[in-house]
């Protein structure tokens, strides 16, 4: 639900960076979204066109890099996939999992003219 606001913010970050580098147009913007970031990539894609209208990003390509979640069990130290908070450690069944990866929500770079 908050993807609209985040996408507006993403467009602003990208546009500010483009302007600071003397660009007149953004061709593409690369974003990382982790599985545990609480953000639906499809919603960001959906909002992007509307949010980029009238900015340097209008007509640009949004490239979303989805980062799968990884966790480590506090009990047995096994590492496992962790794409939601409801999974148990596949090795010991414990639910105490440390988040190693998957919370990313980052504007990585823009390609500009």
């Amino acid at each position: 639900m908050h993807e609209l606001g985040l996408t507006q913010h993403l467009v602003k970050i990208a546009e500010d960076a483009a302007r600071q580098n003397g660009a007149t147009q953004v061709r593409s913007v690369k974003v990382e979204i982790g599985a545990l970031a609480g953000v639906v990539p499809e919603s960001v894609e959906f909002c992007f066109e509307a949010c980029s209208r009238g900015t340097l990003l209008e007509g640009s390509r949004l490239e979303i890099i989805f980062i799968p979640g990884r966790g480590r069990c506090y009990d047995c130290h096994a590492e496992c996939a962790l794409d939601t908070y409801t999974v148990a450690c596949p090795a010991c069944g414990g639910f105490s999992l440390e988040r190693l990866q998957g919370e990313e929500l980052r504007v990585v770079e823009v390609e500009v003219d």
Binding site: A23, R27, G38, R106, V107, E109, V112
Partner: protein, 251 residues
């Protein structure tokens, strides 16, 4: 023939991004989308520390009893400490008016179409309490089990409410929120005799998502379980004051 490297049409395939265009300049950004909120939340946290203020962010679905819990808690405890309340809703000042009726200063934040409070709104909301000696700030977030999980406001902890008129599997359906909350209050337990709500199952689901979560069961109607909740608050205030005195901050 490929103009980039001269490979023929039947030759090897490799990837030329936007081969028909010369490449644009790449500008590295590496900025977290929540960085601005997190910066402002850190600023709020410093302000709360300076004031020795204990801050909770109450999160739940709409109608789980956040405002009722506050009304009851403030009525029972406002003689022990100075409270203030920030009320988040999309529209109306109904909740702030309900809180103000208890005598506790309350400020309504209307998010308009927004689905959550952010650190910026809370920072400005706090300006209304400048100069007031406060011990505990309660922030009632917008009723929403999704978005408020992602936005740090600078609080000491998120407190999630789940009323027993909701499904016992809510922690599994909305794991991000129940993971983010240190405390879970199961509310309206006076209604349990009329419902098919398996409270033990609900607690097991919550601990599956968040093994460290601390759970209280209570009813603001008949007062069941409130004393445990109040005792926990007393311990937290005492712990905050000890920490503040050790770091030399006046509590």
């Amino acid at each position: 023939m490929c103009t980039d490297c001269g490979c023929g049409p039947s030759g090897h395939h490799h990837h030329h991004p936007a081969a028909e265009l010369s490449p644009g300049r790449v500008v590295r950004i590496e900025e977290d989308l929540l960085a601005k909120n997190n910066r402002l939340a850190a600023g709020n946290r410093r302000l709360f520390q300076e004031k020795g203020l204990l801050v909770y962010n109450l999160v739940s679905s709409p109608g789980s009893g956040k405002t009722t819990l506050l009304e009851r808690t403030l009525s029972d405890l406002q003689h022990e400490w100075n409270f203030a309340v920030l009320e988040g809703d999309q529209q109306t000042s109904n909740d702030a008016e309900r809180i103000a009726a208890t005598g506790v200063p309350a400020v309504q934040i209307n998010t308009g179409s927004g689905c959550h409070l952010d650190a910026h709104m809370v920072g400005h909301g706090m300006e209304n309490f400048a100069g007031l000696p406060l011990d505990i700030l309660m922030i009632e977030n917008v009723g929403n089990l999704v978005c408020p999980a992602s936005f740090d406001l600078g609080e000491d902890a998120k407190i999630a409410l789940l009323s027993v008129t909701e499904g016992e599997d809510k922690p599994l359906k909305y794991p991000d929120m129940f993971k983010a909350a240190d405390i879970l209050l199961l509310t309206k337990i006076d209604l349990l005799p009329y419902l098919r709500f398996d409270i033990e199952k609900c607690k097991a689901f919550a601990r599956q998502v968040n093994p460290q979560v601390r759970i209280f069961e209570l009813s603001c109607q008949n007062g069941a379980g409130l004393s445990s909740w109040y005792d926990w608050l007393r311990q937290e205030v005492a712990a905050k004051r000890r920490a503040a005195s050790m770091t030399g901050v006046n509590g």
